[in-house]
């Protein structure tokens, strides 16, 4: 039996962290994924890989397709979609709608994507009673500036500074409607990093589905399974062990479901891990009650936002948030290593 591997700029990379890795594996309808051995061992399809960067992270897409032209076309489409959305949601691209919103405090005539995602963001704010808050960007700025400028000061920013910035964090002060998005307070800033990856995952999934690519596992920061594995089984997705992010500790089956994981381990400001990017919006400090939270639900946007919301909420609030959101399974790893499963 023969197995051919066609490569488009394919390079071997070391195992990337799943949160940062952007991977799409899919197959045209009816074709099994290359590299997946069936019982008979007969399956073979060409494997095409693209590597690049998206939303500031390394990204790759892998796709099995009978023809090189077909694969290139679809990868081009998917990359173009990622680029298009990146140009809207990026914090760092000066021309992005988000950057304009943060600069001016208002944005008139938001695009459909910006409008939809901001509406979702505010909705998750209210579902989670403010645990998920896209207006935490000033906090992130405060912390990153603090740790950049005071490398030795491990205590974090002064309480006074935090208190001043926390006043700017309130999703209810964001007006979203088709005419404009308005930040009600001077100095407010938005980050969509807690939800845009999920949204992009959803949009690329829809695009692939519209182009006849079924049975896909799309992993653009968050993971969404379209349909089943080409073999008919559910997709199997391994979750990182939150206490040792270099290993995986459990697998879940996904069929037409998305999973998102939040953990502070990705972006510690300090070596002790007491300060990271997931803030409790009300207190202005990094949330430490969980090591990791994974949320499984149909849409990646929802999974992305809820995993953050539950991560920064007190553990006893998690049930209520999951119940409000509905159709959610959440896997929580508490700070002491205990695990909880919530279904709602």
């Amino acid at each position: 039996m023969d197995r051919s591997e066609t490569q488009m700029g394919l390079k071997n990379t070391t195992l990337m962290s799943r949160r940062r890795a952007i991977t799409i594996m899919g197959a045209a309808s009816g074709l099994p994924l290359a590299g997946i051995a069936t019982q008979s061992g007969a399956a073979a399809a060409n494997l095409y890989t693209w590597e690049g960067a998206a939303l500031g992270a390394q990204a790759s897409m892998t796709l099995a397709h009978p023809s090189r032209e077909g694969a290139e076309r679809i990868i081009d489409l998917a990359v173009a979609e990622v680029r298009r959305l990146e140009a809207i949601f990026s914090l760092h691209l000066e021309s992005s709608e988000l950057a304009a919103l943060n600069r001016d405090g208002r944005l008139s005539r938001p695009s459909m994507d910006m409008l939809t995602l901001m509406t979702e963001a505010v909705r998750f704010g209210s579902i989670s009673d403010g645990a998920f808050d896209v207006s935490v960007q000033p906090l992130w700025k405060l912390y990153s500036a603090h740790f950049r400028n005071n490398k030795g000061d491990a205590k974090g920013p002064a309480q006074g500074e935090i208190d001043d910035v926390v006043k700017l964090v309130d999703y209810r002060r964001i007006d979203v409607n088709p005419l404009f998005i308005n930040l009600d307070k001077k100095g407010m800033e938005i980050t969509l990093n807690g939800i845009a990856q999920g949204y992009i995952t959803d949009k690329v999934s829809e695009l692939l589905r519209a182009n006849g690519i079924t049975n896909v596992l799309v992993s653009l920061g968050e993971t969404r399974a379209l349909d089943t594995h080409p073999n008919g089984r559910p997709w199997l997705v391994a979750l990182k062990d939150p206490s040792n992010p270099n290993r995986t500790d459990r697998t879940i089956d996904l069929t037409d479901m998305s999973v998102a994981t939040s953990g502070g381990y990705g972006t510690e400001f300090d070596t002790a891990g007491r300060f990271h990017h997931l803030f409790n919006p009300g207190m202005g400090t990094s949330a430490l009650q969980h090591l990791g939270v994974s949320v499984i639900t149909p849409r990646a946007t929802v999974a992305d936002a809820l995993s953050t919301a539950i991560y920064v909420s007190p553990t006893d609030r998690a049930d209520a948030i999951a119940r409000k959101a509905g159709n959610v399974t959440a896997l929580l790893t508490l700070a002491d290593g205990r695990e909880r499963v919530i279904r709602a």
Partner: protein, 748 residues
């Protein structure tokens, strides 16, 4: 080691392990027999031989970092349990062994890999024996070793990890890929069959095997039985409701004789299929009927298979047996049928021989093997020269022991309804379904109240109670709780909608606003703008409550002259007219300009967390309202102006008037001015006409209208009635009775 393994959560009896090992031994012998000239003889006894090769140094490669001890090799595919501190934590497998199991045996290497019970590969290395010189194959051994060393990053369930494409091993790519696949596939099978984890939606257990005798299958519900005597069939035909109904096949003489003894089972689960069929048969059939398969068997006078399935004219369907599930008929087909010959229901003398047996594949997407269904045996006959069919049926529900994932905690993930990735606006409506229902009920009550306005206006105090009650709802629930304050922003958003290429769904994400807006548009045609302003505007309600309180505390009320009123009310239209173009040409400016509405401060933000001047403005507006009721609504509110402009076209006027109301046309004084004075909003002109654009539909004028203590014409009628005089209106209909004019004080 523990004798026996864990089998789908149940302890597997030791004899089954032995049976499995026997199977492997047989398989090994056969494999060796076929490849004797290429494989050294030492491989034949891998189980024994391999132990000598698993040196501590080697084990450190495949299971680094922990002190492990090995159990006895066991199971199918063969795996060696790994123990750490006496606890079984994982397995070692050999690609040679799982490769044989998995179907490829071409790789010349034997790779041993370790993995944990949860599926994390711990390491992999080539097992080198003196009898297998690897150099001879011309493959760069070091590259292969480097590749294998990376396998410890693999999680066996995590196949989408693109990091481990074996293209580092130039010259041995295919071998490397096969090894990786053998490790992953073998490890999966080992975990699926022996591990205590199955994570996923419920599915038919095709691997977990448990020895069950025929009686066990029957008593556990794995197999069902249908026994029909000749009498049963004759009675069924007799009761079918036809004259002279009889089966096409003549029934036997003996009424107690067996017409058909029928057995049916879903054969897909290993613990059913492999207990009825021989293992090899089960595996062959499983491959052939990839979806689901049944075993149907019978004995008796009736051949349940019939002949129809042989003929294309019948679409090769079996016409004497079928499945019914959820109202769908699932047919068995001749193309998916394998003759099985005979089956015995038990050992020795107790066993009954079933001489008609077959294996039937089912790949109908409508069929759900986990859900209950009926298996029907059909007996065809004639009645009144027409064909009839009598079904005999037996219910089947696959027992839970054959379903993987049902008892597992993680199963609930499968219970999540899939494919309902709802769009956000649908989600919003579902989220707020209770609020939507409350609002809908409130609007229905409001509509009924206004239809019955004459009836409730007759009762001054009841009416006051009803109105204040509804306004309390509007302010407290609709405004402060649900934040469903319709504002200029909504109007402008809707106005510019035709010129934007946003999906209509963008306008649906706030259910309560959509409903209030929709109801308001509807009401414009019937009641004009006044319905929203007077009943559904939370800020309006707030002003009205404050005015009531002001009057309670006897704060002097101030009323502008009619001339000033006429100069002031157009102001709100100016504000409206200024805002509309901003929506189209400069939304940035509009964001600030709509702050002329104090709604956000007073209603949606509860006066909190807003800039100082916004609060000052809102308080100032409300303060003016304390001395002049609804001053904001009357003179400034652009939303009210917009609605009033649109409400010009309302079709009907419900507010009742009398001929006596107001100064008659062509005169400069006279007529009744009771309502005019009682209207706080100066919406009633001296002529008696109600200016609907300025009206808030508070119904105060209607309360006066029906009050026979206060409305002069009614009071006159009442007094005449009390004196026993005939109604004056009978004498002089339509005559104005108050030529001198009459201006009473408004009622409290």
């Amino acid at each position: 080691m523990v004798v026996g393994g864990i089998f789908g959560g149940r302890v597997m009896p030791a004899n089954l392990v032995l049976r499995a090992m026997r199977n492997i031994a047989v398989g090994l012998v056969m494999a060796v027999a076929g490849t004797l000239f290429t494989v050294p003889a030492a491989q034949a006894n891998w189980v024994d031989d391999v132990k000598d090769l698993l040196t501590p140094e080697f084990l450190a490669q495949v299971w680094p970092g922990e002190e492990i001890t090995l159990g006895e090799p066991e199971g199918r595919p063969l795996a060696i349990p790994v123990f750490v501190d006496g606890e079984q934590v994982g397995y070692l497998i050999s690609t040679k062994q799982v490769g044989n199991y998995g179907g490829y045996a071409g790789s010349p290497f034997d790779v041993v890999a370790g993995f944990t019970n949860t599926g994390q590969v711990t390491g992999a290395a080539m097992l080198l024996s003196h009898s297998e010189p690897i150099i001879g194959h011309g493959v760069p051994q070091s590259r292969l070793e480097r590749y294998l060393a990376q396998l410890n990053t693999v999680h066996i369930w995590n196949r989408y990890t693109a990091a481990l494409q074996p293209n580092v091993t130039q010259g041995a790519t295919i071998s490397a890929g096969l090894m990786r696949d053998a490790v992953i596939l073998g490890a999966r099978v080992v975990i699926r069959t022996r591990g205590d984890v199955y994570v996923g939606p419920p599915t038919v257990d095709r691997t977990g095997f448990e020895a069950l005798a025929w009686e066990d299958l029957i008593s556990g519900g794995s197999m069902v039985r249908l026994s029909l005597t000749n009498r049963d069939v004759a009675e069924a035909f007799a009761l079918a409701g036809y004259n002279e109904a009889r089966p096409d096949i003549p029934l036997g003489e003996d009424p107690d004789g067996t017409f058909l003894e029928f057995f049916a089972a879903l054969a897909t689960p290993a613990s059913i299929g492999q207990n009825i069929l021989r293992q090899k048969e089960y595996e062959n059939f499983s491959r052939e009927f990839a979806d689901q398969m049944f075993i149907l068997a019978g004995v008796g006078e009736y051949d349940f298979k019939g002949e129809a399935y042989r003929h294309a004219a019948n679409q090769k369907r079996f016409d004497r047996v079928q499945i019914v599930q959820n109202g769908n008929v699932i047919y068995f087909h001749g193309d998916q049928y394998k003759y099985k010959g005979r089956l015995e229901t038990g050992q020795g003398r107790e066993g009954k021989v079933l001489n008609q047996a077959g294996v039937f594949g089912v790949d109908d997407p409508l069929f759900d093997p986990l859900a209950p269904f009926m298996i029907q045996v059909l007996v065809h006959g004639t009645a009144d020269d027409a064909a009839i069919t009598i079904p005999f049926e037996v219910a089947y529900q696959l027992p839970a022991r054959h379903i993987l994932g049902l008892e597992e905690e993680e199963m609930a993930m499968g219970a999540l309804s899939s494919s309902d990735a709802r769009p956000i606006w649908v989600q919003a409506w579902i989220d707020q379904q209770i609020d939507v229902a409350v609002l809908a009920v409130a609007l229905i009550i409001l509509t009924i109240m206004l239809i019955k306005q004459d009836a409730i206006s007759r009762h001054r105090y009841a009416y006051k109670f009803i109105r204040l009650g509804f306004l309390a709802f509007t302010l407290g629930w609709l405004g402060w709780y649900a934040n469903a304050q319709l504002s200029m922003i909504n109007v402008l958003v809707y106005l510019q909608a035709p010129f934007r290429d946003l999906a209509w769904t963008s306008y649906m994400v706030e259910p309560l606003i959509v409903i209030v807006a929709g109801y308001t548009v509807f009401s414009l045609f019937i009641w004009g703008r006044s319905l929203f302003c007077g009943w559904l505007c939370p800020f309006g309600a707030l002003q009205e409550f404050l005015a009531r309180i002001a009057k309670l505390f006897r704060i002097p009320q101030f009323q502008v002259s009619r001339e000033t009123h006429k100069k002031l009310w157009p102001l709100k239209y100016v504000v409206f007219a200024a805002l509309v173009p901003l929506a189209f040409f400069s939304p940035e400016v509009m964001v600030g300009a709509v702050e002329v509405e104090p709604f956000k401060t007073a209603i949606t933000s509860h006066f909190q967390n807003r800039g100082f001047w916004f609060v000052v403005y809102a308080v100032a507006v409300l303060a003016v309202g304390l001395v002049m009721e609804r001053a904001y609504c009357r003179f400034l509110c652009p939303l009210g102006a917009g609605l009033a402009a649109a409400g010009r076209f309302n079709l009907v006027r419900f507010l009742k008037r009398k001929p006596e109301c107001g100064t008659p046309e062509g005169e400069t004084a006279g007529g009744c001015h009771l309502c005019e004075v009682s209207c706080e909003f100066q919406a009633i002109e001296p002529s008696g006409r109600i200016d609907e654009s300025e009206c808030f539909y508070c119904l105060d004028c209607q309360v006066e209208y029906f009050d026979d203590q206060r409305c002069p014409p009614l009071a006159v009628e009442r007094k005449r009635r009390e004196r026993g005089l005939p109604p004056k209106s009978a004498q002089a209909p339509g005559r104005k009775t108050f030529p001198g004019g009459l201006v009473p004080q408004p009622a409290e």
